[in-house]
Symmetry: C2
């Protein structure tokens, strides 16, 4: 698990088929600190603090699992309007840790809010008192193990001492590395756009690929903007855009107790106040937020455990978006489809199987299946000009696009996934020693 | 794909962790023929005929897929009261073959019914004219390839010439081998019981484990009894007992276009007529049918592609059976749970994850998880006497039992599955050459 930051940076040149990640720079109102609390018993970074000196509006979306971690319970209970800090630890998911796990969040929030309030007094002429309710948490790692509350508490002073008020690509990358578990690459993305005439930034980092420790394929995604937007608008924007980004990806079809996507807005850009979600001045921001989320979500899939290919499944002309989504995920989660792709085998029969088992009414007589631009199934039959050799060549690509047209309506949905390889089994069957 | 019958029999001693299959013997009213039509371009058996000289009552349950094979469409269209023959071929699933595939079934049924009618005349003083509507089909293998109707037609005479009116274990095993695709072992099971005072036999064979050719993990199950039961009662018995047997197993969570489970009753046992499904005289038969189906279903799982362990997931004290089933399949289909079991890792965190993502309301405070007799989670927390070393020892067993108590009701459901190994990927990612 040892991720050495400097080694990493020098090793990552040309190492990502998704294209290099963008260079995130400074964003007003966000301060970052990343340290090693030695949670892995090695020196890798495992504790990251985001500190919003003047507070940030925020919205979060959490796992739909019926069993949720203690940090998510904590976050759900904080009914504050502004957040001052998000703290993310790896190695321990604080899930299935009961009352003690929840109390750990309280204890850490108490210390963090106290020490940040002190820091505000030192730094600032106009200090704001920060309450423990204004601190939220992201946790990822082993579930069921006692949460290392004492170790983390001991490291809070160091964490706060290391706060950087001005960011650059190195600080963002260090943070993105610090929240990783079995990820092999940090995930970062950014866009710039306008709200009215004001330029604003949207930055994001994410983690998620699976796990080695006995834990969840937790997805964490954190978006930061200097735009000034209300919590209500942030929530609506996040919900809308997560649907077709983070909720459209599947690595192994499993869902964590700890999944969390949040957006924080510092308001430092001083854009015009927007009171309505449908305000056209939000259009650019809406599109850019989608780009950042989709970019991050694709990076999560691309780094999916053992993956050797990136797969896009687009389902067209369904009656409802839900129908298209169901077929898309039926294909994306099929072990048979995913292994065929790993074997570079244009095994369209398995795709037909996965469409059929989704339980959605389709027009078989008009069914069309395409791999990239190549027509495979046309009008419900193997395409007369189908040439296996050409399709086999296509399957050698890193990015595979599967398009399904079920001809019963006008809706569509696109799902992103990866192939299923021996390496996935290797990673997940290894004993967590 | 070459399965040599004699080599097979001598190699199978002590080769099945499910225990040896029972020795099926003669069953009155069933005749069998198994030949090679050279569909695989080698000499393995690939064409099996079951011939019911005096007809048989019958009932079938087919795949729930929205895309079904042409042989299943044919079977669904035959509204006959009695069946005279079931013909099963491997190598080609006759799925996605359109009108031509359907017409192939008609052509073969025409020849078979004609030739069997002639045979009846030769053999019998009291011949019955057999119609093409009294012939049904099981197909399994590649989908989308043209159905080899001419090759099969050419082999019908040979198939009929080879009919054996008296069975023994070799003839049954040859038939069970003849319907295999990627199975590594034939699946046979039998029970004897009474209807009223009359002894009756229930014999069954099955196939299903996955595929190598670009095809489906088709499950075929055929049950034969000398009991005299109406089609309506057979249908109800089959539906009732498939729920907790063949519909309670999962190899890779995929569903075929060709799945088919049938029961045929020859009536030769001359038991009392039963007019009502709830008649207590059926109790023994009901239980025995369940045993045969469960025995076969477990053998299908045990022979699941690449499997190294047999896994039972019992979910107890749910509000509805459906809820228990949903949690059971969520665990059984989770790649993370299945790889952990392959790695002999008592990774109960992944089971918690799979329970949570099933979307069923549970009582977390009372949640209990057991591996065999070992308590892992008790009252929603890691059991205080949990000892990882002992549980690790347990995980080395071939048969792993996982029991979940969700404490919200009184219903239960048991699901059977296997682990997910590198060999599964190997088998399914290999190009179908």
């Amino acid at each position: 698990m040892g991720i050495n930051f400097k080694n990493f940076l020098s090793s990552q040149k040309n190492n990502t088929k998704m294209g290099d990640y963008q260079n995130l720079d400074h964003i007003d109102g966000v301060a970052i600190s990343t340290i090693s609390a030695n949670l892995y018993n090695n020196s890798r970074d495992d504790l990251v603090m985001f500190y919003f000196r003047d507070g940030a509006n925020f919205a979060s979306i959490y796992t739909q699992s019926k069993i949720i971690s203690e940090n998510i319970k904590w976050n759900l209970n904080q009914k504050t309007k502004k957040i001052y800090s998000l703290i993310v630890n790896t190695r321990n998911a604080n899930a299935f840790t009961g009352t003690k796990g929840y109390q750990s969040m309280q204890k850490i929030a108490d210390i963090v809010s106290l020490k940040l309030s002190e820091k505000q007094k030192e730094d600032d002429n106009n200090p704001e008192k920060i309450s423990s309710h204004q601190v939220i948490f992201g946790c990822t790692g082993t579930i069921g193990e006692p949460f290392p509350v004492e170790t983390i508490k001991k490291n809070i002073s160091n964490l706060i001492n290391q706060i950087k008020y001005t960011q650059n690509k190195y600080i963002w990358t260090k943070a993105a590395l610090g929240i990783m578990t079995t990820d092999t690459k940090p995930k970062l993305a950014m866009e710039e756009c306008k709200i009215g005439n004001t330029k604003v930034k949207i930055y994001g980092i994410a983690k998620g690929s699976g796990m080695i420790q006995p834990n969840m394929a937790t997805t964490l995604g954190y978006i930061f903007t200097d735009a000034d937007l209300t919590n209500e608008i942030l929530k609506k924007l996040l919900q809308k855009n997560v649907t077709k980004t983070f909720n459209a990806i599947s690595c192994d079809g499993d869902t964590s107790t700890n999944d969390m996507i949040s957006i924080f807005s510092t308001g430092k850009a001083n854009n015009q106040q927007i009171s309505n979600f449908t305000d056209k001045k939000l259009n650019e921001f809406d599109i850019s937020l989608n780009k950042v989320l989709l970019n991050l979500a694709k990076r999560v899939v691309s780094d999916g455990e053992g993956s050797s290919k990136f797969v896009t499944v687009k389902v067209k002309n369904s009656k409802t978006e839900e129908d298209a989504k169901r077929i898309g995920f039926s294909i994306a989660n099929s072990k048979l489809v995913k292994t065929a792709i790993a074997g570079e085998d244009p095994n369209w029969g398995r795709i037909v199987m996965a469409i059929g088992k989704a339980g959605v009414e389709i027009n078989v007589q008009k069914l069309m299946i395409k791999f990239g631009e190549l027509i495979i199934v046309h009008n419900g039959k193997l395409y007369e000009k189908y040439e296996e050799e050409i399709v086999k060549e296509y399957m050698k690509n890193y990015a595979i696009e599967i398009e399904i047209d079920i001809s019963v309506g006008k809706k569509e949905f696109t799902v992103y996934t990866m192939d299923l390889t021996k390496k996935y089994i290797e990673i997940n069957a290894d004993y967590r020693s």
